[in-house]
């Protein structure tokens, strides 16, 4: 599979990364190089192999249903680029 410039632009949009025309051109070559290389994985016979789910044998622990956190508004908002009172501000969204 190889990508063209339209695909690169589409991936950039999905990734929410603005990309110039020149960058898109450059990226076509780079992505194709990397994708062509990773495609050797297709050679591997994976019949009957389950995709890895846990790196090291371990069980998911579950937390108790107890409120132990929150009420830290100042910590939550401390680094906000555009704090508006008790809120984060973002450019107006039309739904």
């Amino acid at each position: 599979m190889s990508v063209d410039k339209d695909t690169v632009n589409k991936i950039a949009r999905l990734s929410r990364i603005a990309i110039s025309d020149a960058e898109a051109d450059k990226m076509v070559g780079e992505l194709n190089g990397i994708l062509a290389w990773v495609e050797q994985l297709g050679e591997v016979d994976v019949t009957g192999v389950e995709p890895m789910t846990a790196v090291i044998a371990n069980k998911l622990r579950l937390r108790d249903d107890v409120v132990t956190d929150g009420d830290v508004r100042e910590k939550v908002l401390a680094n906000a680029p555009a704090r508006e009172g008790s809120f984060f501000g973002v450019p107006k969204v039309i739904e």
Partner: protein, 488 residues
């Protein structure tokens, strides 16, 4: 179950409806953090650093949220998956701090189940239909955006961010707004019985995404639209009606239905397209690498099953076996709240038939007048049981009981106290009753003669006269016995 058809210019159209219901799981803390899941709160106060997706923050799942999903699954006879996983659904939006929602796509915790619905749950003869449930998965809620606080900005409040939701996905098994309404009502009833969701649609703890398509009867499925976040049963039925008609008009006008997400505007009673989000549908789901698979053991599943309450269908059957009418059994079990109130009443020693009749006529009537719901009732089951006990043991008559109940509602006093204070106790004083009977017989010799010559119906007249003379406080049984004796 219902033959709902839309009459178009080209003939009849059938509607196909599937629902994705988001139900907020009843829990203290959020799905993956220790912040409070409570409704309301100061903006951004029920938020931990995990919910705000600060760098390096990690999710740890809340056992109770998974337990509630499993119990809900069991309540709809669904397949419970001992092995499930969380996946990330990736998209960018201001109410989604991580840039992904942790959800379950590939391996949901609950698989196939079903719910039996009836168009009119109060009518035992109404036909029923089984609606398939495809799955229930657990996922995070998003935060909230406010658009009206600032001329050029929207404000973000993350209090809801990370609250646990169950997404209950039905099969496209419904074919009319009424069926969809009945399904949603029944589902809400089950959730409330189980206690896994409070079903409060106004507060948004239950909302439906409505998938609607139309087709010629028996034909191939049409393209569907998804109307998002409808937050009342009535709105949902209106949305379906509007949307189905719109699709028929569109197709018959030579157009085609576009697969898209829409919004229902309850003021205009219409659906409209949400601003098309390009690429919005490539969610790039993949297993969340911060979490291990969810593995449920026997002990966990057993506890879930053991903690399930009796569910509406089973309860209804049992009530009928207890001698209640089918109608009473249906009404009393439709909502968990009612059934629990009724059972509380029985727990205080009230007879099932007496209790159900009183609840359905007296209490419901009174609440109706007061404009109150059952959980706002000024009389609780213990107080009601006291009143009904006085009737059962002959202390007061049924008609006095009505008066006493009125006074209870007004004053909040107990039934026995009212009866005492106002001297409403029923009398068994045979001398007094006999004296009154003698007077009545003397005053109505003609009627006595008519009765004795065979006009049995007059017996009621004598009972009424005697009761009136006793100011309603005589034991009707005693009156009966005495009258029979003297009238012969």
């Amino acid at each position: 179950m219902s033959e709902y058809r839309i009459q178009g210019n080209t003939g009849e159209w059938e509607v196909v409806i599937g629902l994705e219901v988001h139900a907020q799981v009843t829990s203290n803390a959020k799905l993956f953090s220790g912040a409070s899941a409570a409704f309301g709160g100061e903006p951004n106060s029920h938020v931990s650093l995990v919910d705000a997706a600060m760098p390096g923050m990690l999710p740890v799942p809340n056992r109770e949220c998974l337990r509630q999903a499993v119990r809900t699954g069991m309540a709809i006879n669904a397949q419970i998956n001992r092995w499930s996983r969380f996946d990330r659904k990736n998209y960018f939006y201001a109410d989604l701090p991580q840039g992904y929602q942790i959800s379950q796509l590939y391996h949901p915790i609950v698989g196939e189940g079903e719910i039996e619905v009836t168009l009119n749950e109060k009518d035992p003869d109404s036909p029923t239909k089984r609606i398939g449930i495809e799955r229930i998965h657990v996922e995070q809620d998003a935060g909230k955006l406010m658009h009206d606080q600032h001329p050029t900005m929207s404000f973000v409040d993350l209090n809801r961010s990370g609250v646990a939701l169950m997404e209950i996905v039905s099969r496209p098994d419904m074919s009319s707004p009424q069926e969809a309404g009945a399904y949603l009502k029944k589902l809400r009833s089950i959730l409330r019985y189980v206690g896994s969701c409070d079903g409060n649609m106004e507060q948004g703890s239950m909302r439906a995404d409505v998938n609607v398509s139309v087709r010629k009867p028996g034909g191939e499925l049409g393209t569907r639209t998804e109307t998002k976040n409808v937050n009342s049963i009535r709105f949902m039925m209106q949305a379906i009606e509007y949307e189905a008609q719109r699709q028929v008009d569109l197709i018959e006008g030579g157009g085609a239905v576009v697969q898209e997400t829409r919004l229902f505007d309850p003021n205009k009673m219409e659906t409209r397209s949400m601003r098309s989000k390009e690429d919005a549908h490539d969610y790039r789901y993949f297993p969340d690498p911060d979490l291990l698979p969810v593995e449920l053991d026997d002990a966990f599943l057993e506890e879930c099953r053991a903690s399930l309450p009796e569910l509406p269908d089973a309860k209804r059957k049992r009530y009928e076996e207890m001698g209640l009418t089918a109608y009473n059994a249906a009404v009393l079990t439709a909502e968990a709240e009612t059934a629990f109130w009724f059972e509380d009443l029985l727990g205080h020693g009230v007879d099932a038939k007496q209790g159900s009749n009183w609840l359905m006529s007296e209490l419901f009537g009174a609440l109706n007048k007061l404009g109150k719901s059952l959980d706002e009732s000024p009389v609780n089951p213990a107080q009601a049981a006291e009143l009904l006990g006085l009737v059962a043991d002959g202390t007061i008559s049924g008609s006095i009981a009505k008066q006493v109940f009125e006074i209870m509602l007004e004053t909040g006093q107990g039934a026995a106290a009212i009866v005492d204070e106002r001297g409403l106790k029923q009398t068994n004083d045979t001398d007094a009753i006999e004296a009154e009977i003698a007077k009545i017989m003397a005053a109505n010799e003609d009627k006595v003669a008519e009765y004795r010559s065979g006009k049995d119906k007059l017996f009621g007249f004598f009972v009424g006269q005697t009761m009136k003379a006793m100011q309603g406080k005589a034991n009707p049984q005693v009156i009966n016995d005495l009258l029979k004796k003297v009238l012969g």
